[in-house]
Amino acid sequence: MSTDLKPLDAPTPRVQGSSVRMGDRVFTNLTRLAGIFVLVLMAAIGAFLVWKAIPAFRDNTGNFFTTQEWFPDASPPFFGIAALAFGTAISSVVAMVIAVPVAIGTALFIGFYASRRIATSLGFIIDVLAAVPSIIYGLWGLQVLMLHMDGITKWLNDYLGFIPLFRNEIGIYTKSIFIASVVLAIMILPTISALSREVFLQVPRSHREASLALGATRWEMIRMAVIPFGRPGVISATMLGLGRALGETIAVALILSAAFEINWHITEPSGNTFAANIALKWNEAGPIGLSALIASGLILFIITLVVNMIARAIIAKHKEFSGANG
């Protein structure tokens, strides 16, 4: 699929006098303009966010990166993104820890274990998870999942409580980062799984058959032929999933209890993320408050941009392999 079909250039009619037809010139420039528009749009997103974030940076009396409080509309304004950055990072990391094994297992199951007749349908079913709107994940997480999470979080506290991450000192287990992470994990699962599956399918048939012919079990075939070939693809799929987890807003905003503190006990009600904070604070913010939220959005934009660029760069670098299977 990814072999680049470069159509031959149209025969440029070389009638004496006019070198290129009028229609061709207009159409070429129109499409090029559209291409440039995409670049301008991305630049504009960055530029406008920087511009409108300036008042917040200027008036802030706290340290933007290390202050945990968020009082941008006080006089003088005092706020920082430390708590937001922490909450965003830890919820995404926990979500990745849960989602990556499940997603890769799902991709392997559909690719190499399920019967060929139903594999495509199974892939489609998992893709449905990607189509569920985030507000529904939030509603489900808040109203359904949260009621069933007490058992596991209490178990983590009772038996793994010596690890600070799982200790719960206040005995309340709702509205926690852990629950948000479980919901995030389900949301990013299809992203990671779909791309991994695509990469696994591109492993040359000859590699797989050769290893089976040498007497490898199915798992040895996967470990020796599929995983080494697919590793760059799986890594970039994971990065794309991470990007989605970092920027997810509504589901997280509904589940977390939005506290401005750094709390390592992820099963306690606490936590806040860049995106959730913007959605929750937006409609009560004054001028500097808006500017401060835009500033935090700018940081989120930069982080997701970097994560996505790395993912795309990995894919682009290994593109020459991806056509191996025709």
């Binding site: 070429t28 559209a34 079913i125 058959e209 199915r218 913007i278």
Partner: protein, 356 residues
């Protein structure tokens, strides 16, 4: 793909096992499960109550231990690892499937229990959060208008970008455009909302409106449509283009009259899928148009409701009646998404022969 890999593997495994080595009986998995279940029953009976979830976890762990241990004793390490891997991979898939089924059934069951025809034909005007009744007609209208407008803006731009990348793109510019279209798919939706707010409201001084929401959705739609259109244009056979050039048809006319019509079905399918995608977006709408309890058919002025923000509002109210409305709203939202997906498949099916 005539002979499946799975059959190959099975034949090979079967052959080698018959020739050379001892294997577990055919229903080893079933026997292991039975043994594990018996052991679980003993453990649950002898130790303090574990609950259903705890018992299932114990059952699963025991199943793995029994099967792997048995296989290790009879077949050796390599085949034991293979069986363990099969169990784990299958379990991962089951977990993913269970999550999906759990979410969908929750929405359908709880949504249906508070759904009625009135819900589709009334608005939330003068309905207090404490009272039952009310509906999301205003939100349905808002969503259709906002998404429709977003599609109207995003579709021509995206198709032009895709044409540029496939038919004209050479050199540095096209590499950059391809790269940034990919990166754009990863822009968080809330950032799209932030940008439109700074651009449309803060800089140009327009009020928050359904149209501002459409602009934010446009940013989310463009990369999706560009990608799918690109794929569709790439599979149009070059022979068609060359035949057209040979007849002296200019390139732009070839693209508009030959290439686009050939890929039309696929392009429309991609557009439908992108609509289904953005119809459920909440975050950018909260920033750019916020909420409304009443009907506002005017895209250009004043706050306008939409289904996702309707659900958000009902959850935020938090009363039993409004939570019921939130579930019913979620059901309608899923139905809207499903309808667009269905339309996409229908278009793909109807136009499939034309592209061959």
């Amino acid at each position: 793909m005539s002979v499946t890999d799975r059959d190959d593997a099975e034949v090979l495994e079967g052959l080698s096992s018959q020739l050379a080595m001892k294997t577990l009986p055919r229903f080893a998995a079933g026997y292991s499960a039975l043994i594990a279940a018996a052991l679980t029953a003993v453990i649950v009976a002898l130790t303090p109550a574990q609950g259903i979830a705890g018992s299932l976890v114990i059952l699963f762990l025991l199943y793995m231990v029994v099967q792997t241990g048995w296989s290790f004793a009879v077949e050796g390490r390599r085949f034991a690892v293979d069986r363990l891997a099969t169990t784990l991979v299958t379990t991962m898939f089951m977990i993913a499937l269970a999550a999906l089924v759990w979410i969908i059934t929750s929405v359908v069951i709880r949504g249906l229990s508070s759904f009625s025809v009135d819900f589709l034909t009334s608005t939330m005007r003068n309905v207090s959060p404490l009272r039952e009744g009310g509906g999301l007609l205003h939100a349905l209208v808002g969503t259709l208008e906002q998404v429709g407008m977003a599609a109207l803006i995003a579709v021509p731009i995206s198709i032009l970008v895709a044409i540029y990348l496939v038919e004209y793109g050479r050199g540095k510019l096209s590499t950059w455009v391809t790269f940034f279209v990919d990166v754009m798919t990863g822009v968080p939706s809330i950032v799209a909302g932030l940008f439109i707010y700074t651009f449309w409201v803060l800089t140009f001084g327009f009020e928050r409106s359904g149209f501002a929401a459409s602009l934010a959705l446009t940013i989310l739609m463009i990369p999706v449509i560009v990608r799918s259109t690109e794929e569709m244009l790439k599979i149009v056979p070059n022979d068609l283009r060359e035949a057209s050039y040979a007849l002296g048809v200019p390139k732009w006319k070839t693209i508009l009259r030959i290439v686009i019509p050939t890929a039309f079905g696929g392009i429309v399918t991609g557009i439908m899928l992108s609509i289904a995608r953005v119809a459920g977006e909440t975050a950018p709408l909260l920033l750019t148009t916020f909420l409304s309890q009443s009907m506002n058919g005017n895209l250009m002025a004043g706050p306008q409701a939409s289904i996702p923000t309707f659900v958000w509002d009902q959850i935020s109210s938090g009363t039993p009646a409004s939570i019921d409305r939130a579930w019913a709203g979620a059901l309608v939202l899923i139905l809207v998404v499903v309808i667009f997906y269905g339309l996409a498949r229908l278009v793909a099916k109807l136009t499939a022969p034309a592209s061959e």
